[in-house]
């Protein structure tokens, strides 16, 4: 269906080809997953299928790409529109009209289908994607998952034989992601559509894939094979694979179910070593934040009891009994906070305290009020009722220059924070804004992002590098409270691992960290406490282990595999086995 014949793509002004030696074939009706680290050329390969590379982006394409027998060299993207449907990373950039129904019809209008055919297909697609209730809604009012479904629907209506998706679930909460993937699954099974998708969050998609194409590094030829074969060698892999590699399971399990069936011996080994490990930890002192949140729940009081008085000690004590007042002032205190935006109650009577050195994960559906809560903490939104206190001041009444020293937010789109033309200028500006010693920011950048030169333009940085630079800019003022909104969106596993290390270090230095995230694996790795929001209410608040274990959609894979034992991450398991 899709055929790459020794394809290499070189963009204008680039010395090296972005992808080289791409040679594979996607047979009809298969779901093929494209994986690889950031910057390995996944988007370029996807663009080559729809013809946008090189017709729209410029650059030189060598070799041959054919889709349903049509050569993309001789066919422009618009002439491929009836066989290839493309959904880009940002569904909002994809929409041409402003209501759901018009959007679904747009592609067919362009192709010149008869009105009665269009009407029938729009109705079918609305049913297939479960969008019937939304047909008249303006697109601007939809949630992230709904937008993604509308975007998929809008390319489905012309009945393309190939569907190309770039990170369809990265911005979605776990439930919405399941929804989208279920739709893709149905298309492949019922309609026989060929699907090619790229995704960073492999734990969500790997078990749907028939085959995997791995781009190991920029400019390296891809490796193609069944998911199990490729995962055995892939530098990017989900936790279930990491656990499988750790336990030497062969063939590698790709789903939680497969892994659970193999996990009985591992569970036994773990329960044996966990008992021994507790004593070791208690006598050897705290080996680091990993082990602190790594201690399985039933052992936590014992482990914490063996430790000398740290900020986290009060945290562990808090869980069994309601908070005994700590002597240190809390990083942030939110009391009976309500926010109305338009006609919607974005937040309803929220009470929340964040202690210094504590990492708190805010989780919940898209639109549950996570970002609103962060905006309140940083003073971008004034509360309708209730109070917010951060470091002893009310954020929305404090001058920005004063506030940066108390609280810092890395927004969902970290690029918004960067204005300057080079990294060096950005750092100087950050020092000036924060009133810090010259060189403070640059030192932070060097720590977070080794190997970045002063004259790099911030727009040339990858997602992960951008995030690190924005984080450095925010940290220049040394705010005791650090807020992050969706920090792992678009990050590959390596970038995520670096972020985790950095955040753990900050928490150990006494920074309080609040992160709004959909990424359960990230929350499991670094958060001490999880707060679940739903429609503006706090529906659960407690230690990570307790909250995520009790929720099927928020449980990380390792927890699901090793239940009823309560393990959160592969690192914990590795530690316990060592």
């Amino acid at each position: 269906m899709i055929r790459f014949e020794d394809v290499s793509v070189t963009y204008d002004g680039a010395a090296e080809p972005t992808v080289r030696g791409v040679d594979f074939e996607v047979p009809e009706g298969e779901l093929v997953l494209l994986v690889g680290p950031s910057g390995a050329g996944k988007s370029t390969v996807l663009g080559a299928v729809s013809g946008l590379v090189p017709h729209f982006t410029g650059g030189t394409l060598r070799g041959r790409v054919t889709v349903a027998g049509r050569d993309t060299r001789t066919h422009k993207p618009r002439e491929l529109a009836d066989v290839v449907g493309t959904v880009g990373q940002d569904p909002l950039a994809h929409f041409v009209t402003d209501t759901v129904e018009d959007e679904l019809a747009y592609g067919m209008e362009s192709l010149g289908l008869a009105p009665d055919v269009m009407r029938r297909r729009v109705e079918e697609t609305l049913d297939l994607l479960g969008l019937t209730g939304l047909r008249d809604r303006p697109i601007a009012t939809l949630s992230g998952g709904q937008r993604q479904r509308v975007a998929i629907g809008s390319v489905l209506t012309p009945h393309p034989r190939v569907l190309v998706l770039d990170e369809p679930t990265s911005a979605l909460d776990p439930a919405a992601a399941e929804e989208v993937l279920a739709v893709l699954q149905r298309l492949v099974h019922d309609v026989g559509t060929t699907v090619l998708l790229a995704e960073h969050r492999l734990e969500r998609v790997i078990h749907y894939a028939d085959r995997v194409v791995l781009l190991p590094a920029p400019g390296e030829p891809p490796v193609t094979g069944t998911p199990a074969e490729v995962m055995a060698v892939s530098p990017v892999h989900p936790p279930v694979v990491a656990l499988g590699r750790l336990a030497d399971w062969s063939p590698l399990p790709l789903t939680v179910r497969d892994a659970r069936r193999r996990a009985a011996p591992l569970r036994e080994r773990l329960s044996a070593s966990a008992a021994a490990g507790t004593h070791a930890t208690a006598s050897a002192g705290a080996p680091g934040p990993v082990a602190q949140c790594a201690a399985p729940l039933q052992d936590a009081p014992a482990a914490a009891g063996g430790r000398t008085g740290t900020a986290r000690r009060s945290l562990f004590r808090r869980r069994p009994a309601p908070a005994p007042e700590t002597t240190r002032t809390p990083g942030a205190e939110v009391h009976a906070l309500s926010v109305r935006r338009g006609r919607i109650d974005a937040l309803r009577r929220i009470d929340l305290t964040v202690a210094p050195g504590e990492t708190l994960a805010l989780m919940g559906r898209n639109g549950a009020g996570k970002s609103t809560l962060l905006s309140c903490l940083v003073g971008l939104i004034a509360p309708s009722t209730g109070s917010v206190t951060v470091g002893g001041v009310t954020p929305h009444r404090t001058a920005p220059a004063d506030l940066v020293r108390r609280v810092g937010l890395v927004p969902q789109e970290p690029r918004d924070l960067l204005y300057a033309d080079t990294v060096a200028e950005e750092c100087t500006a950050a020092d000036r804004d924060a009133g810090a010693e010259p060189g403070t920011c640059r030192a932070l950048v060097s720590r977070l992002l080794p190997g970045i030169t002063d004259d790099t333009h911030p727009r040339d940085l990858s997602e992960g590098q951008c995030l690190a630079l924005a984080l450095a800019v925010v940290l220049t003022a040394r705010p005791p409270l650090l807020l992050l909104d969706e920090p792992t969106r678009g990050l590959d596993y390596a970038a995520k691992a670096r972020l985790v290390t950095v955040l753990r270090g900050l928490a150990a230095e006494g920074h309080a960290i609040v992160l709004a995230t959909h990424d359960v694996e990230l929350a499991a790795e670094i958060a001490h406490r999880v707060v679940l929001l739903a429609e503006g209410d706090v529906i659960a608040d407690g230690p990570t282990a307790q909250i995520v274990v009790s929720s099927p959609s928020f449980a990380p894979q390792v927890t699901k595999i090793l239940a009823p034992q309560q393990w959160l991450t592969v690192a914990e398991v590795r530690e316990a086995l060592a």
Binding site: L80, D82, A93, E109, R119, P138, P400, L403, Y419, V473
Partner: protein, 348 residues
């Protein structure tokens, strides 16, 4: 639009207020929750600002309307001789103020009517009524129109980001410094949109014989020329004889050209708005208001332009007022289902 035309025919404040009320009622009952519909409030604010500015100029610069009721006297600023005829400060008379108020209100009503048309029809709906040959131009216009709301959203986001960096987020300087990133973002979005449209088959065209293409071009160009010449003829005094026929011929040729040109476009329309009796009624009511008011102004100019010298309280002329009430017809004629608001005021 017709209401707007009606508004230019009168300065009677009572009638103008009635016009605004009529348009507001129709909008309130029939608007859709699209962003375009929210523009009505923005237009109303703009109209109010226009009114205030007009009053301010009348006070500060004086006005040519002679008056005897002096309200207050501002110190008059002597101006150099090259600025003769402009007066700064001086007497402010009630007559001048009322005159300015009427004038401002007329403009404000015009703006509000445009806003109402925008809120009810929406650029995307107008696009649906365009002939196929003009479709691509239409898309460009609509994309440009939706550019503004996105720009505003960008400015808000970047100002929030400035606040996060600890810089002042208010003031002119704050706004200027976000200018460049906002433009960059807008450009990136345009490119992304263009890529999406391209990938979805925008601009596919059918093969048409060269003869048809040439005829199309000739007809369209000739038609446009005819329209221009005809309009010129109509506007100049001596061209009255050939003006009208030339204009009509031009319009006909241009329409034929567009129709032929439409053959090249493969596009079909999904659920086009049916042009039924109701739509005629709606358009008709707008046209009727304009026509009746024009008639009334020709017949009885006194009632529609209440005098300011000497100062009299404006009376409400019965017939024109009744005519304006016709504009409420769409509010009742069209069912209030959320998805069927007909555009009550087509450009007329």
């Amino acid at each position: 639009m017709s209401l707007g035309t009606a508004a230019t025919r009168t300065t009677n404040p009572l009638l103008l207020a009635l016009l605004i009320a009529a348009s507001a009622y129709v909008v309130a009952t029939h608007r859709t929750p699209t962003p375009a519909a929210r523009a009505y409030a923005a237009f109303a604010k703009l109209a109010f600002a226009v009114l205030l500015v007009r009053m301010f100029f009348a006070i500060a610069l004086g006005s040519p309307v002679p008056g005897t009721h002096i309200l207050l006297t501002l110190p008059e600023v002597p101006l150099p001789h090259w600025a003769q005829g402009i007066r700064l400060g001086g007497k402010v008379t009630a007559e001048a103020l009322v005159f300015a108020g009427y004038d401002g209100l007329r403009l404000a009503t015009l703006l509000i009517c445009v806003g109402a048309a925008n809120a009810l029809a929406g650029p995307a709906r107008l696009l649906k009524s365009l002939p196929g040959a003009l479709y691509e131009t239409g898309v460009a216009v609509v994309v440009a129109l939706t550019f503004a709301p996105h720009l505003i959203a960008d400015v808000q986001r970047l100002r929030a980001a400035r606040r996060l960096r600890g810089r002042p987020d208010r003031g002119v300087r704050g706004l200027l410094q976000v200018g460049l990133p906002v433009l960059e973002g807008a450009l990136e979005r345009s490119v992304a949109l263009a890529a999406a449209m391209e990938a979805r088959g925008y601009g596919r065209s059918a093969e048409v014989p060269a003869r048809v293409r040439r005829t199309t071009a000739a007809l369209t160009l000739g038609g446009l020329l005819g329209v221009c010449a005809g309009t010129y003829g109509l506007l100049t005094a001596e061209g009255g004889t050939y003006g009208v026929p030339l204009l009509l011929a031009g319009v006909a040729a241009a329409l034929a050209g567009l129709r032929l040109g439409g053959r090249r476009s493969l596009r079909t329309r999904y659920r086009p708005d049916p042009w039924n009796a109701r739509a005629w009624l709606v358009t008709g009511s707008g046209v009727a208001v304009a026509a009746l008011l024009s008639l009334a102004s020709a017949r009885d100019p006194e009632a529609l332009h209440p005098g300011v010298v000497p100062l009299v309280a404006p009376a409400l002329p019965l017939w024109p007022a009744a005519a304006i009430l016709l504009a409420l017809l769409p509010a009742f004629a069209v069912p209030q289902a959320p998805k069927a608001p007909k555009a009550p005021k087509e450009p007329s």
